[in-house]
Symmetry: C2
Subunit: 87 residues, 2 copies
DNA sequence: ACTACATTTAGATGATTTCCTAAATATCTA
DNA sequence: TAGATATTTAGGAAATCATCTAAATGTAGT
């Protein structure tokens, strides 16, 4: 969970997750949504992957990224717990 | 929200929030739960405050910190949205 | 095998973050 | 007002992070 929280701290990475919520995308397609260079996006994708927030799968020349919601569900649980009144 | 996500990226700060979930505490009481020096804890408290995750109120010599859940509710909403299937 | 395309890896740099010590500020009590 | 306690502010060092360019890797098509 610590890796996930750290990954979520960066706005570019949250934006990437939001893009992937709409549909799966290749690294290149993702990069096209930002002004940042491709290696930087690749780096962000790697951090998201380490945090298990996304999954990658090669399809020919492309690497397709998709959301993995299980860790986000854990985080959701954390927030629910924190918001809960007492005990 | 960006400040909140950044604040939540640090494990010490998440631990502080968890302590404050149990009960309101003074800066000193909070610091007693960590091996870190007090100025460092004060710095973390300040970041949490900037992010509006906590509220402070002076009571005599002490400054009492307490949770402010409204921003965490926003974050909860963000996760709910991200987890949601489509649309 | 060669070239083109998609992506990552490596290495460098500047910005930010975390933590420390020392000093300042605020409050209480005698 | 002087001394004690609680907390913050200031300033600095070391670690981490975000980004870039250049080079390497993997895949496809001719």
């Amino acid at each position: 969970m610590n890796d996930a929280f750290k990954a979520l701290a960066d706005p570019t990475r949250r934006q990437i997750l939001m893009l992937l919520k709409e549909r799966d995308m290749s690294a290149g397609e993702i990069a096209d949504h930002f002004s940042m260079k491709k290696p930087s996006i690749s780096h962000h994708l790697n951090i998201l992957k380490q945090a298990q927030l996304i999954i990658d799968e090669r399809q020919g020349q492309n690497i397709i990224y998709s959301l993995n919601t299980s860790v986000m569900q854990e985080a959701l649980g954390w927030f629910l717990h924190m918001i809960q009144k007492n005990n």
